[in-house]
Subunit: 706 residues, 2 copies
C-alpha cells in the first residue's frame, strides 16, 4: 500500500518523459519556408509574451494568497499554515510551468504541421497530435507529481496537522492560475477573433486569416492563449482537483464514519481509502501514455479514427487497470476501524461510472453541436429567416442541451453514491459520498490524452492560418481544414469531460467543505441565511457571464478601431499591394492589454466573494456554493453548446446547405457564429473554473470562518 | 377581528363596482369611423375567440386536477378533499372570469382610445387607463373576493380539517389558469409579431401595423392575448398567492412556534395572524381604488406624471393604512399562546419593505431598459458594428441586471425576516418567516393599480395599430405613440412587481411546503437526494425557456409561410391597390392553433414534474423547488431586461441616434429587438408563473407524498 505514492511518482515521470520525447519530435520537424518561419515566430513571440505578462500579473495575486494563507487562521498552529502556503505555491508554479512548456511546443507545432500538411494529412496529423500531447502530458504529469510529493511530504514524512487542508491548498494554487489563464485567455482569443472578423470579413470583404488583416496574427496567438494555455491550466486544475477532492473527503469521512483516528495524523488501516484516488490517477496515467503511443499517421485510415483510437485505448485500459488495481489494493476485504470494505469492486464501478458519464456528456455535446444531427440543422434552417431567428433557435437549443447533461450528471451522482455505499455493504449511507468524489477521477483519469486531443485542435487551426498567410497552395489549406474540422468534434468531447468533471469535483469539494465545518453549519434550505446565499450564489455565474461577455465586447471594439485605422492609414494594405504589411504587433498588444486588464475584475470576484460571504456567515456560504455550482454548470453547458452549434451551423451552410456562402442565410449564420464566440470560448469555459475556485477557496478557508 | 373578512368582501365589491363603472365609461365612448369599428371588431373577435378556445382546452386540465384533488390523499378524510376541489375550481373560474371581463373591455377601449386620440392625448389617456383598470380591478376584486369567501367558508363557518390546505387549493386553481394563459398568450403574441415583422418589414418593406400585412390583425390580437389576458391571469395568481401564502404559513407556524392549537381548526387568539394578510389585502384595495380615481386627463400636464400619480397615491395610502390597520388589529400587544406580539408595528414595516422593494426592482428594470440610461445607450452603440455585437451586449446587460434585482430581493428577505422576528421581540427566530411572506403582500397590495397601468400599455399599442390601419392622420399616430412609449416604461415597473413578488411568494409557499412536510423532509443541501433535486430544479427554467422560445420560432415560421403565400397569391396586395385586403383571419387562426398546441408541453411539465419527483422523494422535491425558484427568478429578470433593453435601443436609434432609421445600425438594432421579443414577452414572464405553480402544486400535494 505504501507503494502507491511512489507508483504515482513513477507514472508522472513517465508522462513527463513522453512529453519530452514528443517535444523533441516536434522540434526536429521542418518549419518550412522563410515566410512560414517568420509568421510562426510572430505567433510564438506574441503568445509567449502574453504568457509572461499574465504570469507577472498573476504572481502578485499568488503572493497575496501565499501571505493570506500564512496569516489567516486556517489551521490551529503555524506549521500547517506554512505547509499550506508552500503547497499553494507549488500548485501555482507547477501549473505555470505546464502552461509554459505546452505553449512553447504548441507554437512550434503549428508551423511544422502546416509544413507537413504539404505532404498530406497522414504526415500532419501525428505532428499536431504530438504538439498537443506535450501540453497533455506536461499537465497531467506535473499535476500528479505535485500531488504525490505533497502527499509524501505532509502526510507520510512530516505528519503535519490538518495535512489534508494542506493538500487542498495545492489544488487552490492550481485554481489560481487556471482562473486567470481561462478568463484572460478567453477574452484575448475572442477579442482578436470577433474584432478581426467584423472589420476584415464584414467591412473590408477579405477572407479569414488573410495576411492583409492586421488582426490575423493576434487571432492565431489567441487560439494558443485561449485554447491551449487556458484549457491546459483549466484541466491541470480539474485533474488535480479531482484527485485532491476524494483524498480530502476520505480524510474527513474516515473519522466520522469509520471510527478512525482524528484529522490530526494517523489513519491506520484506513489509509487505503486515501491512497486509492492517487492509485487511480497513476493507473490512468499509464493507460493514457499507452493510448497516446497508438496515435500514428497512417495513410488511408480515417483521421478521426486514428485520433479516437488513442482515446479509446486509454479509456479501456483505465477500466481494466482500475478493476485489477482495486482488487489488489483492497485484497481480503480490509476493515477500516469498525467498518468493513465488503465489496471493493464497487469502488472500481464508481470509476467506470465517471469515465462513461464524462464520455456520454461529451457525446450529448456532440449531438447538440455537430452538423450531422437535428439541432444544428434546425439552426441552419432558421437562417433562412435572418439572424434573429438563428439566434433564438441557437439559444433555445443550447438551453435544451442542459437536459441530457443534467440527467447524466444526476445519474452519475446517484449511481456513484449508491456504489460508494455498496462497497461498504451499506447502500444509501453517507459514506457513499466517497464514491461521488471518485467518479470525478474516473472522468479525468485519462486527462493526458484528453488534453492532447483538445490542444491538437488549435494547433491544426493555427496551421491552417499559417498556410493561408504564407500563401501555400490551396490543397495544403484543404489538408489543414480537414484536420481542423476534426478538432472541432474532439473539442466538444473534451469540453464534456471538463464541464462534467467540474460539476462533480465541485460537489465533492463542497461536501468536504461542509464536513470540515461539521456541526457548525446548518445547510437547511429553509434557513434564511442559506436561502439568501442560494440566491447570491446562483446569481454569480450570471454576473460572471455578463462581465466576461462585456469584456470581449470592449476589447473587440478596441481591436476594430485599430484595424479600421490601419486599413485607412496604410496605403495599399487593403488592396494587397506587394510589400505592404499590416502592423500586427499593435493588434497583439491591444489584445494582450485588454485581456490582462479585463480579467482582473471577474477573477478577483471569484476569490473575494466566497471569502467575504464566509466571514459574514458560513451557512450563507454553503447556500452560495450550492447555488453557484448548480447554475454555473447549467450556464457552462448552455453557452458551450449554443456557441458550438452556431459555429457548425455556419460551417454546414458554408458546405453548401441553404444556398451556401454569400447568401443571406450564410450572413445570418455568421451573426450566430459571432455571438457564439464569447459564449463557447470565453464565458462558458470560465464557469468550470469559477465554480471550482469558489468551492476550493471555501474549503481551504473554512476553519478561519468558524 | 372577525370583521376582517367582511371588510375584505366589501373592498372587493367596491373594486368590482369601480371596474363596472369604468367599463361603462369605456363602452359609452365613440368608436370612430366605420373602418375603425371594423378593425376593432376583428381584433376583439380574434381575441375573444382565442380566449374561448384556450378556456375550453384548459377546462380539461382543470377537470383532471379537480378529480385528482378528490382522489389523491392530500388530506386524511374526504371532506377537506372535496373542499379543496371546490376551492380549486373557484380559483380557476374566478381567474377565467376576470380574464374574460378584462379582455372584453380592453378590446373595446383600443378603438375608442384611437378615436379619442384625434382630440389629443388628454382625451385618450384616461380612456386607455380606464380600459386597463377594468382588468386591474376585476383581477384584484375577484381574487380578494374568492379568498374572503374561501376563508369564511372553510375556516370560519364549516371549520373543515386542514382548512389551509383548502385555501392553498384556491391559489392552485388561479395558477392553473395563469400557467396556460401566460404561456399560450406569450407564444401567440410573439408568433404573430415576429412572423409578421420578418416578412412585412424585412422582406416586403412595408411599415409596422400596415393594413396590407395579413399578420397585422393577429399582432394586435396578440397584444391583448399576451399582455392583457396573460398578464392579468399572472397577476391574479400572484395576488391571490401573496395573500394565501402568509395565511397558510401562519396557520403552520402557529402550532409550531406559538403553542397554538393543531392544524385542525381552532386557532384561538392566534387568528389575528391569519387575518392580517387579508386585512392588508383589503386596505391595499381601498388605497388602489382611491389612487385609480386620481388618473384623469388634464391638458398641459405630463402624461407619465398623471399615470404615476395614481400609483403613488395608492402606494402612499397603503403605507398609512397598513400602519393604522396594524395598530388597530393588534392593539394592546396580544399574546398568541405562549408568544407575545410585543411590537406589532414591525409587521407593518414588512409590508413597507415589500412595497418599496417591488418599486425598487421596477426601477432597476427601468434603468436597464430605458434609453435614458447607460445600458441601452451601450447596446445602441454596439449596433454600429452589427447585429452580433448588439446581441452580445444585450445578453450581457440582461445578465448584469440580475445583480441589483437579487440584491434587492435578498435585502427584502433579510429585512422582512428580521422585522417578522422583531414583531415578536425575537429577531432571528424562524417566526420571522411570517414577515417574509408578508413582504409579498406588501408588494402586491396595490395590484389593482399595477395591472391597470400595465394593461394600459397594450391598449395604447393597439390604438396606435388601429390608427395606422384605419389610415388616420399622422398626428393621431403621434398621440398614440406618445401614449405607447409611456406604456413601455410603466410595463417595466409592473414587471418588477410581478417578478419580485413571484420570488418572494414562491419562497413563502416553499416554506409552507416544508413546514407541512415537517420532520419528514430533510432539506440539507448535503443530502444526495436534495443535491440531485437542486440540479433538476435549476435546470427546469432553462428547459422551460428553451421550449417556449422554440415554440415561438416554430409558430413564427408558420406565420411567415402564410404571409409570404398571401403576398404571392393575392394580386395587388403588396402594392396596396384599393379594395385588396389580406386574409387576416387565417393568420389569426394560425397563431391561435400554434399557441394552444405549443402551450401544452411546457404547461403540462410545470404541473407533472413536481408531482412525479414528489412521489419519488420529498427531499429531492425540496431541492428541486429551491433550485427552480432561484434560477427561475434569475432567468425571468435576465430575459425581461435583455428584451426590454433591445426594444428601447431600437427605439433610441429610430429617434435619431447612430444615424436613425434606414441605417445598418438600425437594421442591427431591429435584429436585437426581434431576438428580445420571445425573451421579454414569452419565456421571461413564463418563469414567474412556472416557479409559483410548481411550489403551490407541491404544497397542496405534499400530504400525499409523505
Amino acid at each position: 500500500m505504501t507503494a502507491v505514492p511512489y507508483l504515482a511518482l513513477i507514472a508522472s515521470v513517465l508522462a513527463l518523459l513522453l512529453a519530452y520525447y514528443f517535444a523533441k519530435v516536434v522540434l526536429r520537424a521542418d518549419q518550412g519556408t522563410d515566410l512560414m518561419r517568420e509568421i510562426g515566430g510572430a505567433i510564438r513571440e506574441g503568445a509567449m509574451a502574453f504568457l509572461r505578462r499574465e504570469y507577472r500579473w498573476v504572481s502578485v495575486f499568488v503572493a497575496a494568497m501565499f501571505v493570506l494563507l500564512l496569516i489567516v487562521p486556517i489551521a490551529d498552529n503555524f506549521t500547517p499554515r506554512l505547509a499550506a502556503s508552500f503547497a499553494y505555491l507549488m500548485g501555482a508554479v507547477l501549473s505555470s510551468v505546464a502552461g509554459f512548456i505546452g505553449m512553447r511546443i504548441a507554437t512550434a507545432a503549428n508551423t511544422r504541421t502546416a509544413n507537413a500538411a504539404r505532404e498530406g494529412a497522414a504526415k500532419a496529423l501525428p505532428l499536431a497530435f504530438k504538439g498537443g500531447a506535450v501540453m497533455g502530458f506536461s499537465v497531467a504529469g506535473l499535476a500528479l507529481l505535485g500531488i504525490s510529493i505533497n502527499y509524501l511530504l505532509w502526510v507520510k514524512w512530516l505528519g503535519v496537522d490538518q495535512a489534508f487542508q494542506v493538500v487542498a491548498a495545492f489544488g487552490l494554487g492550481a485554481s489560481s492560475i487556471a482562473l486567470f489563464a481561462r478568463i484572460g485567455g478567453g477574452i484575448y482569443t475572442k477579442a482578436a477573433d470577433v474584432g478581426g472578423d467584423l472589420v476584415g470579413k464584414v467591412e473590408a470583404g477579405i477572407p479569414e486569416d488573410d495576411p492583409r488583416n492586421p488582426a490575423t496574427i493576434a487571432d492565431a496567438v489567441g487560439d494558443n492563449v485561449g485554447d491551449v494555455a487556458g484549457m491546459g491550466a483549466d484541466l491541470f486544475e480539474s485533474y488535480a482537483g479531482s484527485i485532491v477532492a476524494p483524498v480530502v473527503l476520505a480524510s474527513l469521512l474516515v473519522p466520522v464514519f469509520l471510527d478512525g483516528d482524528s484529522l490530526a495524523g494517523n489513519f491506520g488501516d484506513a489509509e487505503g481509502l486515501l491512497m486509492y484516488p492517487i492509485l487511480i490517477g497513476a493507473l490512468g496515467m499509464i493507460a493514457s501514455i499507452i493510448g497516446a503511443l497508438f496515435v500514428r499517421g497512417r495513410e488511408g485510415r480515417s483521421l478521426s479514427g486514428q485520433l479516437h483510437t488513442g482515446q479509446y485505448i486509454a479509456m479501456a485500459l483505465t477500466v481494466v487497470f482500475a478493476i485489477v488495481g482495486t482488487l489488489v489494493l483492497f485484497s481480503g476485504n480490509p476493515t477500516f476501524g469498525g467498518y468493513e470494505l465488503s465489496a471493493p469492486i464497487f469502488l472500481a464501478f464508481t470509476i467506470i461510472v465517471g469515465l462513461l458519464g464524462g464520455w456520454a456528456i461529451g457525446f450529448t455535446s456532440e449531438y447538440f453541436t455537430s452538423e450531422h444531427f437535428k439541432p444544428v440543422k434546425g439552426i441552419a434552417q432558421q437562417s433562412e429567416t435572418g439572424p434573429a431567428t438563428v439566434t433564438i433557435e441557437g439559444i433555445a437549443q443550447g438551453k435544451l442541451s442542459t437536459l441530457p447533461a443534467v440527467v447524466l450528471v444526476v445519474a452519475m451522482i446517484g449511481l456513484s453514491y449508491l456504489f460508494g455505499g455498496m462497497a461498504f455493504g451499506d447502500a444509501g449511507n453517507e459514506i457513499g459520498l466517497y464514491g461521488v468524489a471518485l467518479a470525478a477521477i474516473g472522468m479525468l483519469a485519462v486527462t493526458g490524452v484528453i488534453v492532447a486531443v483538445d490542444a491538437y485542435g488549435p494547433i491544426a487551426d493555427n496551421a491552417g492560418g499559417i498556410a493561408e498567410m504564407a500563401e501555400l497552395p490551396p490543397e495544403v489549406r484543404g489538408v489543414t481544414d480537414s484536420l481542423d474540422s476534426l478538432g472541432n468534434t474532439t473539442a466538444a468531447v473534451a469540453k464534456g469531460f471538463a464541464v462534467g468533471s467540474a460539476a462533480v469535483t465541485a460537489l465533492a469539494l463542497f461536501k468536504s467543505f461542509s464536513l470540515t465545518a461539521g456541526d457548525q453549519v446548518l445547510l437547511d434550505i429553509n434557513d434564511t441565511a442559506v436561502t439568501i446565499g442560494l440566491f447570491l450564489g446562483a446569481m454569480t455565474p450570471f454576473i460572471f457571464a455578463a462581465l466576461t461577455m462585456s469584456s470581449v465586447g470592449r476589447a473587440a471594439q478596441a481591436m476594430i478601431v485599430e484595424v479600421r485605422r490601419q486599413f485607412a492609414e496604410i496605403p495599399g494594405l487593403r488592396e494587397g499591394e506587394p510589400g505592404v504589411k499590416p502592423d500586427s504587433r499593435r493588434c497583439v498588444d491591444i489584445s494582450t492589454q485588454a485581456a490582462l486588464r479585463e480579467m482582473l475584475l471577474p477573477g478577483g470576484l471569484a476569490v473575494v466573494l466566497p471569502l467575504v460571504i464566509g466571514f459574514i456567515d458560513v451557512n450563507a456560504l454553503g447556500g452560495f456554493l450550492a447555488g453557484a455550482v448548480v447554475t454555473g454548470f447549467l450556464i457552462a453547458i448552455y453557452m458551450a453548446n449554443s456557441g458550438g452549434a452556431w459555429d457548425n451551423a455556419k460551417k454546414y451552410i458554408e458546405a453548401g446547405a441553404h444556398g451556401g456562402k454569400g447568401t443571406d442565410a450564410h450572413a445570418a449564420a455568421v451573426v450566430g457564429d459571432t455571438i457564439g464566440d464569447p459564449f463557447k470560448d470565453t464565458s462558458g469555459p470560465a464557469m468550470n473554473i469559477l465554480i471550482k475556485v469558489m468551492t476550493i477557496v471555501s474549503l481551504v478557508f473554512v476553519p478561519a470562518f468558524l
